[in-house]
Symmetry: D2
């Protein structure tokens, strides 16, 4: 994670993109990349979507889109001074309290 | 990253959510969380957005939303068998080739 | 459509929201509302999603989210001086040329 | 609106796309198109975004993306049996009650 953050930061700074890499712009870019990721899945049946990585071409596209999403998420967190792993682990603990294991088992509703 | 992936996976399996954690559903959930993140920034000026972490309440909300996005991205990558860091680093190398440092400096257009 | 555009515009002007209703902010708000719409469908099976309007409570939520999306799309188009119906019809003609009926029948691929 | 709904429906039926035009898939496609719309604005300053329609090329791209968003929103509403204008007007009335004119004037916070 730290290496990725440093690499993405160096990438942006070498290109002098700090000025446009504002939190607002990066949040929009993140959403744009997630939109491209959705486009890979939108017309697939659940079965086709579950097997998408078995198709070399579609699998490579999905991996590239996931990479794009991760790049912008890493950059956004860095610009905001947020530790991405810590933010996720903290949130996971909170959600775990909201949805205790015993009540949540198998309930799609409780996944929300 | 490995620890986070393992924690998120255990969280889902303990709650028996594997059935609903399909790639298609997780991609939608990821997009939903990114939508909530956008909502934190949408009415802010660029200046307000840049200072959002100085406001304890708004900062905590942004950090929680970033955590949510990271949780679903981690889970989606795990379900697809994709190494999140590797996908990002591979994509970063590709983009670096497309936007060499010398041409890209300061050009907002080339950030796309 | 014209009535809706006028109603949404009056709504914003009465509240003095023109200043924050910039194209960039409205595009973000639109994406945020689409995220809430996705959240209504994300854990449903295709069958459950197809029957969502049969459930009074979920159906009302979906209708409200669709209303929100339409409000922001109408407002964004108005602020940009774009005729929403005309933009859709023009685009439909273009797509029709790209995907002629005879080749496209039944092909999910060609829906993209 | 009625004409647009009929045109979009005929377009889909002529291509035999009803099978893939499920609510879930259409919601994803809508989000994907909104992502492309965001991408048009993400690196622009507020001033550049406000003047985007003055640039013939960028303006045409924005109009095309808005058209795409409207097409999928129209199709999704049709498949769900929702009247798009009515859903927006109903929601507007609800929001008007939540944010009365006198309190909301000029408050960015109340736009949420």
């Amino acid at each position: 994670m730290d290496e990725l953050t440093a690499r993405v930061r160096a990438f942006a700074e070498e290109r002098d993109w700090q000025r446009i890499h504002t939190p607002k712009n990066l949040a929009m870019a993140l959403a744009g990349e997630v939109g491209e990721l959705l486009a890979e899945f939108q017309w697939l049946t659940p079965e086709q979507a579950a097997a998408v990585m078995d198709d070399a071409e579609a699998g490579a596209r999905v991996e590239a889109e996931i990479g794009d999403v991760m790049i912008y998420l890493t950059r956004l967190a860095d610009v905001l001074g947020i530790d991405l792993s810590k933010a996720a682990l903290t949130k996971l603990d909170e959600v775990a309290t909201r949805y205790p294991v015993v009540e949540a088992r198998g309930s799609a509703e409780s996944a929300r």
